[in-house]
Every structure is written in C-alpha cells, then in structure tokens.
Amino acid sequence: MTSKNMTDFSAEKVIEIKELDKAFGSYQVLEGANLDLYKGENLVVLGKSGTGKSVLIKIIVGLLRPDSGLVNVLGQKVDEISYQELLDLRLRIGFSFQNSALYDSMTVRDNLEFPLVRNRKDLTKSEVNALIEEMLDAVGLAQTINQMPSELSGGQRKRIGIARTLILKPEIMLYDEPTAGLDPITSKEINKLINDVQERYHTSAIIITHDLTCAKEVGNRVAMLMERRFERQGSFEQIFNSGDQLAQPFFDYNFIQ
C-alpha cells in the first residue's frame, strides 16, 4: 500500500472555509473550522463518528446553512447566493452519498439519465445514451444498465451513485464515507475508482471517511477533524508518524499494519 503525492499548494483554491461554526440546538458540531481544497487534490477528512464530517460537506453543497463563517466554493459564497445560483453551482459539484441515495423506483439507466436530461437540455437522445454508457463503463458496471437499485450489491450501488454524480462532469467531488459498510476487497475497488476519477476527470475531491486504508490510498492530504475543528493537516505519513496525542489514539485503534 503506497501513499499518493502531496498536494500542490501553489494550485488554485477551489474550496475555502474560514472560521466555520455550526450547531444543532445546543450541540456545537463545528467551531472555528478552517479548511482549503486545492485544485486537483484528493483531501481526506478523517474523524470519529459524530464529529461533523458529513455536516461539513452538506454545508459545502448548500444542504445545510452555516451559523457563521466563510464557505467559498469555486469563487462563490454558498450561503449568500440565490437558490438559482446555488443550483447552478451544484452542477459543478458532485456529491456521493454514504448510502448511495439511488432513486429506488428507477432503473440504473433512469438514475443516470435523471440529472442529465434536466440540466443538459442541449444533448440529443443518442448523446445522453452515449454519456450513460461512458459513465457505466467508467465504474465498470455497464451490464447493470436495466437493473433496479434493489438488485444491486452495496458496492455496485456505491459505484452507480458515483457514476450518477460524474455524469454532470463536476469539478469537485464530495464523497461521504465511500467505503462504509463494504468488505475490504470492494473497498479497495472503490478506492481505485476514486483515484481513477481524479486522474480521468481531473476532479478535486473531499473524501469523508474513518477508514484509514481508504485515507492512505486516495488522499493527497489528510485533515483530521477533532474537537469541532481541523486540528491536524498534512500527508498521511506526517500525521501517522507524528505521535500526536490527539491523532494517535485514532490511528492505534483503527489501523492494522
């Protein structure tokens, strides 16, 4: 298992988060969180369950509103733009859900076609079909095109979810626990897919996970979310070998060398 190259910090920032606060009632989830995503990098956000990792990416895509702080995505302040501007911005962001969130009343084809026909009205029927086939090929599931989501395995559902997200050719990918609930072999396939997506479509990505194998395989950089903010950021090795008292218990518990 080898780690990836470190982030190019001279690249453009595609996401900029400053002093982000978010609470649900009296429960403070994020407090003064700062994070940048650079163009072309895969940034892994590591942290225990319930530390606000998913909340963070839901704020980025405008599903949740921050209490305070700056959330700048592709040059736009997410909480200050109009709903139409937010919809336009979302076309440039792909969001892969933890449970895939496939439309269970539609076939795989219809799942992929759904965002396409609504947002790319310039495409002909044959172009739509070609794009669907291209995406299914990219995730290695061309044979499932006429199947229903209920007929797919957990790993296949994740892949179709990623294909549905990729079909709009987003600049940023947000993966919410991409390997959660999957066996090690399928997890490895998903990790490879995330790297393929980065190389093939030149996406920048935030990968939310508590799976250290995933973090090491896909991340150019790792940010550890602890105590409501990003306490440690760096390459996987930098954090793993730091002996940091806050980070180390997480690694000791989670990692089998």
Binding site: L64, L87, R90, A101, Y103, F114, R118, N119, T165
Partner: protein
Amino acid sequence: MSIEQEKPADTPKPVSKLGNFFITLYHVFGFIGRFFKEAFLPPYEFKELMRQCYEIGYRSALLISTTGFITGLVFTKQSRPSLSEFGATSWLPSLVGIALLRTLAPLLTGLIAAGKVGSSIGAELGSMKVSEQIDAMEVSATNPFKFLVATRVLAATITMPILTFYTAMVGMLGALLNVSVNEGTSATTFFQSALENITFLDIIASTIKAIIFGFTIAIVGCYQGYHSSKGTEGVGKAANSAVVTAMFLIFVEEVVCVQIFSLFNT
C-alpha cells in the same frame, strides 16, 4: 432555498402546544405558498405530472369502482322502505342521483383517495427523505419540490373531479341494478329520473369540492412525507398522519362547502 431552510424541525422549540400549533401552521402555509410558486413557474415537469395523474387514477380506480357500486346499491336498498311507506318508490332514482352527486361521490372518493393516495404519497416521500433521495435531487441541481410535490399535488387536484364523477356514475349503476330488480325500471327511465333534478350548481359544487379534496389529500401527504423525521418509524408516522389529517380536513371542508353552496341554492 435549501431543504434545511424550510424544515420545521430546525425552528426553535416553542414553549407551549399552542405556540407549536401556530409554528406548524406557519410552515404549512409556507409549504402551500411554495407549491403555488413552483407549480406555475417554469420549468414544468409535464412528463412526471402525466405519470402521477395515471398513478393516482389507476391506484384508486378499482377500489372506487367497488365502493361506489356497493354504496349506490345499498343506499337504494336502505331508502326503499321509507319511500314505499308513502308510495314514493318512483322517487328513488332522483333521490340516489342527488345524494350521490351532491355528497356521497365527492366524500367517498375523497376518503378513499386519502387512504390510498395520501398514505402512498406520505410513505413514498418519507422514504425518499430518509434515504437521502430528496437530498440527492437537490445536489444534482434538480428542484425536488417542483418534481415531487408540485406534480403530485397538481395531479391529485386534476384527477379527483374525474374520479368523483366516475364514482357517481358507478354508484348510479349499483342503484340501477337494485331498482331494475325490484321495480323493473328500464335504464333509460332510471337515468332520466335520476338526472332531471340535478342542477348545474350541483355539478359545479361537486367539482369544486373534489378539487379542494384532491388538493388537500396531496398537499397533506407531501407535507408529511417531505418533513418526515429520520428512520423507518418516521416514514410510518408520515403515512399515518397523511391519512388521518387529510380525512379530518375533508370532513371539515365538506361542512364548510355545504354551508356555502346552500346559500346559492336558496
């Protein structure tokens, strides 16, 4: 507008039940207001609207046919003894026609649709909410309110008057069967007699009631489903609340409508 912005669960907890009631009322009216905005402003979801019209009509047709037919049959059977005491059994077709068109058909169709369609909408949207399918639509730059809520409410509002007149027709067939067997009345005589006392106002009143009932059933189902809490329990609650609330509102609306239309009759 993100989902979170319109979610009642995110509002500060009120201190009293009365306060809670008014907060909910505020959100319901906000939801209805958003429906009118999303339903009548482009882009339109014609394909999904047509699909929903077919689904709502198809899902209810068999049950409505059976219930309507039995209601017409039984109503005629139960009314005969009272009318025969006065030697007025010839009034049966007229009585059944008026009763079905003015009240029984809209009310029956409304109650059946509340059970069949309302629960289905509540459960479907609740399940989509819980499994993040609504969020998935949001993040793929599709307006889920327009696609899921506006289409279902419009479809129910359009389909209910059709179903109501269908119920009335099937109910009359049930009544015809009873009258033919007992009095040997022909179909032509029965329908002439049944329709001669029905006024244009009766037809308009039934249509308006059906439209109101259809709108109520779908908007309640959509509201409950769209705002269902996490988990399968939330889906069950959404479906249950959709039926109970819609049925209650249908009875209230029936009383109000009858009062208003009786002013025109006099």
